[in-house]
Assembly symmetry: C2
Homo-oligomer: 144 residues x 2
Amino acid sequence: MIGSLNHVGIAVPDINQALAFYRDVLGAKDCTEPKVLAPQGVKYAFVNLPSGQVELIEPYGETSPIIRFLEKNPKGGQHHICFEVEDINAAKALMETRGMRVLGEPRIGAHGTLVVFLHPGDAGGVLIELMESHKTHQDSDKAC
Amino acid sequence: MIGSLNHVGIAVPDINQALAFYRDVLGAKDCTEPKVLAPQGVKYAFVNLPSGQVELIEPYGETSPIIRFLEKNPKGGQHHICFEVEDINAAKALMETRGMRVLGEPRIGAHGTLVVFLHPGDAGGVLIELMESHKTHQDSDKAC
């Protein structure tokens, strides 16, 4: 069912500072400019690696689900992991059949494809995002 | 400097139960049998995906660094992320030059190549592992 590990989501208090860390300290060479995904309450940017991605997410708006995470982890930290699936509706149905709590209906994620999240309480304490795979990156504005 | 996202490290209280979750619920088709890496105080197994890996780690021994993590996160959770580097000694030196605290000297990791960890307090709250890249997987005993 699950395909590739698409990205690791990392919550950060300041996305520009985080981008500077990945670019200037870790030496990443391909990062995208921060964009807002208002329905999910995040500002996000991708650090594109030869294989795999880091998704940096900063709270956006007063009801952002990231705010509470950062209250517990003021410096930031690993927030979710994202696996690719071929068909999000089929994946959601299969997960529910197997007793998983799926958080809400499929919605557009930062890559422009449909995503759902699985309840971390059913998944070994890990917030798992499932996303329909995509052929090309949606984010072309480069920050590094 | 950093290359591909090699794996996400997930701490688990019971590695066989975690493997069953990735295999039977998420549908992963390529997992390795648990092995012990005594010097690092972990029992580990890999979930190999078409691209990327999940490394499941269970505490091994009374001084395992994972014990405290699981006390705070009894169900388990995301523990570290691992990026590939070409030369671990050059990477360690560069990180120190850039003000990062590197935790100890390079040592053999679960893939059989040298690894170091960066202090999460210098890395946005994320425990980052750097590992020398490798051409083939060391773990061939399959659990799924």
